[in-house]
């Protein structure tokens, strides 16, 4: 019954999506009924929204009431599962997560249909058509290839439940955030395609899509950072990023999206890079589809991979369709997209943006290459050769450090041609101060090249931002006679985009600081300890006190108790554990960490003696500056909120 309702909703939504694809053609051919067809198109989107929402709610209802007559429910929940993890079962496996994707997609398209009911009358039908095409694809895949409403017979007494690793609070946020980011990139894609189809290639669609792209970018950033936090916090290996194919798939769309947010400003200001900007949007959207293909096809081994099936090849076909139609259309319209190609000078804001784009796209290319390397090598030389984290680290580190440098230069350098005066005014002091910081670090103890360069560049960016803001605040204070804090507020509200961008940059360099610190100066020790024995990892001392076992609702938990001291200061007991789930062959570790802004202490229980309870094997990690990754993430969030926040002044649009 429930299954029939859900499935019927999917089919009805699919029918409306097909209407959404056909209708714009009627719309453009009709001269007399345009208004009515336009209303019908919008109603079609509303209808899709209602039916998909109903379908998703039906599945959530089935999960919450543990209706095991539906196979998806039986596989992803149990009678013991707490209610909120039953709800997260919606994105716990392939079928449900596709439905979540479709749901978010249709929410976005309904928002677009609602917001632009009077604006962009010529574009919106086509924008909604692109949405309907994507929606029709997803609905067809869900309905015919991976149906979440598949009936289970006979009805099992209890379900199988989520993978225990997924039973974590982050499961509530990480997948929906990431999916919102992915799906959000459909909005700029749809606008770009609509502009190409109609040939109305003025700057309007750019202005409209900038904020949408920013929102998608924001969710993508947050989704990736929460994923990193989850990995660090829960997966118990002390790392936050493994360059796993699925992580790369989630990160890759972020790169062209970031590039777009920068190069779009060059088009707004100077009418340059039109073809390039469209390409970036197509690339970002295609990569979200590619990511789904990669993770759902099972062609690469990964801890995240879901079961393989026909879904992978369907996504590959759709990816080919997207790439061919978007870049084909771009080639067809390229005659209309001639911009001003001329760079006035190499030392200018434009060229900083250009370099930013080159670096981001290069990073994308190298990460893409590394991710599909096993497939390439298999195809070309017949041996599977993979490149692991060392490849990604060594290749992307110089690129990202260069990007940090550009983050200091770009926002301060003049458009067109930077004069000596401009350079001296904006960069002399930040250069001097950051060089002093660099030398100080060298004298202190940071001697290897990459981290030293990294920290110096980070200091450079921070000082350019502080110096520039301080100079502007002081000028207002002097000229307008405002108090310092008030002057800052006026500045931010008058130059919302600029200061929002600077705050985001500040967040990014803090994240980079955490990455550089933890990559370069982590200490790792592993030892088998007897009760009462201590292990010294500067500046910490860890004493093994006891081991104990306890019965939990879903598993059996073995916990080691370790007393931890920092330079003699008692930090209390830390208890890393191993969790034995009946459904899992090997135990799942539960690492614990003690966080400070300076460095994290991270304990992993990797073994114990079952017979005597006197022995435990412990892995101790000291990871400097990791916390700054999360701090930086918060700062980036703040910056994006400033950017999106509607301010009084209307001149922004």
């Amino acid at each position: 019954m429930t299954a029939t309702l859900g499935y019927t909703c999917l089919i009805l939504a699919l029918a409306l999506a097909l209407w959404g694809i056909l209708a714009p053609i009627l719309y453009s051919n009709s001269t007399t009924h345009q208004q009515r067809i336009f209303t019908a198109i919008r109603l079609g989107i509303v209808g899709q929204f209602v039916f998909v929402t109903l379908a998703a709610s039906t599945l959530i209802y089935a999960l919450v009431t543990t209706d095991f007559s539906i196979q998806y429910v039986a596989f992803n929940t149990t009678r013991n599962t707490p209610v909120y993890y039953r709800v997260t079962g919606l994105w716990g496996a392939l079928e449900g997560s596709l439905l979540l994707w479709e749901w978010i997609l249709i929410i976005f398209s309904a928002l677009v249909a609602w917001i632009y009911k009077d604006q962009h009358r010529d574009l919106v039908p086509w924008v909604l058509m692109i949405f309907s095409i994507v929606s029709a694809f997803f609905l067809a895949v869900i309905a015919f290839a991976s149906n979440p409403f598949e009936i289970m017979s006979p009805i099992p007494a209890d379900g199988r439940g989520l993978n225990p690793l997924l039973e974590d609070a982050n499961m509530l946020t990480h997948p929906p955030l990431l999916y919102t980011g992915f799906v959000g990139l459909t909005v700029p894609f749809a606008f770009a395609m609509a502009a190409l189809i109609t040939g109305k290639l003025d700057e309007r669609w750019i202005v409209t899509t900038r904020k949408w792209t920013l929102i998608a970018w924001f969710f993508l950033t947050l989704g990736n950072l929460v994923g990193a936090w989850w990995s660090y916090h829960v997966l118990g290996w002390g790392g936050y990023w493994a360059w796993d194919p699925v992580e790369n798939a989630a990160f890759m769309p972020w790169l062209p999206a970031t590039a777009f947010l920068h190069s779009i400003q060059v088009q707004e200001r100077r009418s340059m890079l039109k073809v390039w900007n469209l390409s970036l949007i197509f690339l970002a959207f295609s990569l979200t589809i590619f990511g789904t293909f990669l993770t759902r096809s099972g062609i690469l081994s990964s801890i995240h991979a879901f079961a393989s099936g026909p879904v992978g090849s369907l996504f590959l076909a759709f990816l080919a369709f997207v790439l061919l139609s978007s870049f084909g259309l771009l080639a067809y319209r390229s005659g209309q997209l001639k911009g001003q190609p001329e760079l006035d000078a190499v030392v200018s804001r434009e060229s900083a943006f250009l370099l930013n784009n080159v670096v981001l796209v290069s990073a994308l290319f190298t990460i893409f290459l590394g991710t599909i390397f096993p497939l390439l090598s298999e195809a070309i030389v017949g041996v599977q050769v993979s490149v692991g984290a060392p490849y990604f680290n060594s290749v992307t580190a110089p690129l990202f450090l260069f990007l940090v440098f550009l983050m200091g230069v770009g926002p301060m350098i003049a458009w067109r041609k930077a004069s000596w005066d401009n350079l001296r005014r904006n960069f002399l002091w930040p250069c001097i101060v950051s060089l002093i910081v660099g030398m100080g670090l060298f004298i202190w103890q940071i001697r290897s090249f990459m981290p030293l360069l990294g920290f110096t560049l980070i200091a450079f960016v921070i000082f350019t931002i502080l110096f520039d803001t301080w100079a502007a605040v002081r000028a207002r204070h002097r000229i307008a006679g405002e108090g310092l804090f008030r002057a800052l507020r006026t500045l931010v509200s008058r130059n919302q985009r600029r200061y929002a961008g600077l705050v985001v940059h500040l967040g990014v360099v803090l994240v980079v600081m955490g990455i550089v610190g933890s990559m370069s100066y982590s200490v790792e020790r592993e030892a088998t300890m007897q009760r009462g024995e201590t292990l010294e990892v500067d500046p910490y001392t860890v004493r093994f006190d006891a081991i104990s076992g306890s019965e939990q609702p879903t598993h059996f938990r073995v916990e080691g108790n370790f007393r931890v001291f920092n330079n003699g200061t008692d930090l209390g007991t830390m208890s890393p554990a191993l969790k034995f789930y009946p459904s899992q062959k090997s135990p799942i570790g539960r690492a614990v960490h003690h966080m400070t802004l300076g460095s994290d202490l991270y304990l992993i229980l990797s073994g114990f003696s079952e017979l005597t309870q006197n022995q435990a094997t412990l892995k101790v990690l000291v990871r400097p500056l990791v916390s700054w990754i999360w701090v930086g993430g918060l700062v980036m969030t703040l910056g994006t909120i400033i950017a999106i926040w509607p301010m009084r002044r209307k001149s922004e649009q």
Partner: protein, 147 residues
């Protein structure tokens, strides 16, 4: 023309730098997936390449020293067998007769020096009804443990 030439020179410089980065990165990080038979057939110079070898831990071959946490065993694919040395803490699933994937280099004496051992999770595993009973009998409750 001048502009075009400058553009081409710029592109070449960027591509060259990128290729150099990628080449260096790949050379440093390549891992070959092979079987013990393929490894034997390689006759590679020891220590030269980083391999990931998949196989089974030969029953009766495991010698472990818990004090120094060293493990010696034979890894087999049913045709060929290679000697393996490992120091560290192997994963919980690691045992004789079970599948394992090892990563590392071949030492001068022909022994494979594994830096990582990954146990293979077999798909057809079905859990025991009672869960980990053997653990419960060995481990006391919390109160006792704290004593």
């Amino acid at each position: 023309m001048n502009r075009r030439r400058r553009f081409i020179i710029g592109a070449i410089i960027i591509l060259a730098a990128l290729s150099y980065l990628i080449y260096g990165g790949v050379k440093e990080a390549m891992v070959y997936f092979i079987t013990p038979t393929e490894l034997k057939a390689q006759e590679a110079i020891p220590g030269d390449k980083f391999y990931r070898v998949g196989g089974m831990v030969l029953a009766g071959s495991l010698k472990k020293n818990l004090q120094s946490r060293t493990f010696q065993f034979q890894l087999t694919d049913g045709v060929q067998t290679i000697p393996v040395y490992y120091q560290g803490v192997p994963p919980d699933l690691f045992r004789e007769g079970a599948g394992a994937v090892i990563e590392g280099r071949v030492r001068q004496d022909g022994v494979f020096n594994a830096t990582t051992i990954m146990a293979k999770h077999s798909e057809e595993y079905s859990p025991k009804k009672e869960g980990h009973t053997e653990l419960r009998s060995f481990l006391p409750g919390k109160e006792q443990g704290a004593r």
